[in-house]
Symmetry: C2
Subunit: 292 residues, 2 copies
């Protein structure tokens, strides 16, 4: 199966560019609850469907790119859900970050399909360029069906284990580190401002040494430049409210203390409470140091 | 003054390689309370002195590489202290991490000398190769005297401000990030073990993406490989007990909340309490996940 028929459900910040990039290689049928998003997918070369069930009806690979587990359940098992029409043996590629337990539950409810637990990391630009990091939990048979789609979307695709949930677990650890590093960068920028050092010089200097992180180099300048002033939203703050919640759940289940992740989660909750849910996650710095 | 006479006080993990690297370029007189360390400095080309006062007697630049502010005060103002003999107008280069207030206090007690607040970052190997990051708070006159010594020791030397204390403040922010990133790597490794994922594969995979940090790549493999089993000590855990304490003090003084730095400080304190003070700082992972 070199050219699978692909169904994409969820055409948001990640799903739309993924659908477009897939449509340049494979026949793609796309669905989103929002008609404007469906039209945007058609512009990018996909066919549009009127419901998840219609989108899935003759797919080899169903790719889910919705926001959270509630939307996963609606797309698969709700009215006109995709599970009712998806051909037996087809692969369901779950790219959303929903946590290991939700991925296992979803797999159990799809006995006639093959779940590929495949959360992605990278952001919209890389999603549209096939340059994502995908971390996968799936057995060999499921992988074989989904492989052309995973390869088309990713520059790095790491199979971390054979079980649905393994990919989610690794993604959760990714989010633990990413969420803590953003919060640490925010503390560094806020403290630099509090002391009266030039925060731009601090970020630039420290990005070159033992204090460096991807997030310090990426979010640090945004925290300095667009301080509390409506930075372009590249990744919403409330994504980390959700994802650090998944980290906390996983930590409790396994009995592993994660005090820094817990503190970071609280910081994102404070950001949400301060009205920053739909702002760029770099706006979390304003929780620590609100004044201009 | 192209070839200053240099005095080095404190010949520990950082001071000894710095003294050796300086001695290959300048006349260096060295002192440490430990005779074995003095002998090691002589092997590296320095002359040895019997006291701080003797070491400082004809120096243009006095370099302090002791552990903490208590040792700084003993070296400068204790019995046979260096301040009593150091020629008027000489520069005192403070490379220890002691916090901004301690650096300002020290400057105030040296009215006839020029304090160059110059904490270093990089570790022993880079100290011996002139490859340190040095962050400086000093005025132009002090800098002019100390410049040959700073240039000899560093690959990057950033002057962050004109006041003693500015270098310490930047170093504290460096330590905030470094200490939080090590603790986050420990949470990631402990959680990977708790879930049953291969921690080496987790560290390797996540080091390539948005979760990456210098510390994840550097300390992560040490946490995985030498788990609780006496890893080679490259940087002692109790350094972060001290330095995160300085961060906390600075945060309180400026009124900036730093919840992640505070959580990391607690983790290093737990490590110290568990008997890990003199272990490699990567051993902090065993606080979160003690079993082999």
């Amino acid at each position: 199966m070199s050219s699978p028929r692909v169904s994409v459900i969820g055409l948001g910040a990640m799903g739309l560019p993924m659908a477009g990039h897939l449509a340049a290689a494979f026949p793609v049928t796309a669905f989103d609850v929002d008609a404007d998003r469906r039209a945007a997918a058609v512009e990018r070369g996909a066919a549009e469907a009127a419901s998840p069930a219609a989108a899935a009806a003759d797919a080899d690979v169903l790719l889910l790119a919705v926001r959270d587990q509630q939307q996963v359940e609606a797309a698969l098992f709700g009215p006109d859900g995709a599970a009712s029409t998806l051909p037996e043996g087809a692969a369901v590629v779950l790219t959303s970050t929903v946590g290991p337990q939700a991925a296992r539950d979803t797999a159990a409810r799809l006995p006639h399909h093959r779940l590929v637990d495949a959360p992605v990391s990278g952001g919209p630009t890389r999603a549209g360029a096939g340059d994502l990091l995908i971390v996968v939990g799936a057995d060999d048979e499921a992988l074989e069906i989904a492989r052309p789609v995973l390869d088309r979307l990713s520059s790095t695709c790491t199979v971390i284990g054979p079980r649905p949930g393994d990919g989610q677990a690794l993604k959760a650890i990714n989010q633990l580190l990413a969420g803590v590093h953003i919060a640490a960068a925010a503390e560094a920028v806020a403290l630099a401002r509090g002391i009266g050092l030039d925060p731009a010089l601090v970020v630039e200097t420290l990005s070159r040494g033992a204090a460096s992180s991807f997030m310090l180099s990426d979010r640090g300048p945004r925290m300095v430049e667009a301080y509390g002033d409506g930075a372009e939203v590249r990744s919403r703050l409330d994504i980390f409210v959700k994802d650090m919640g998944i980290v906390g759940e996983l930590a409790r289940e396994t009995g592993v203390p994660t005090p820094l992740a817990a503190a970071a989660h609280q910081l994102y909750l404070l950001g949400e409470r301060a009205g920053l849910a739909a702002e760029d996650d770099s706006a979390v710095v304003t929780v620590l140091s609100p004044q201009r």
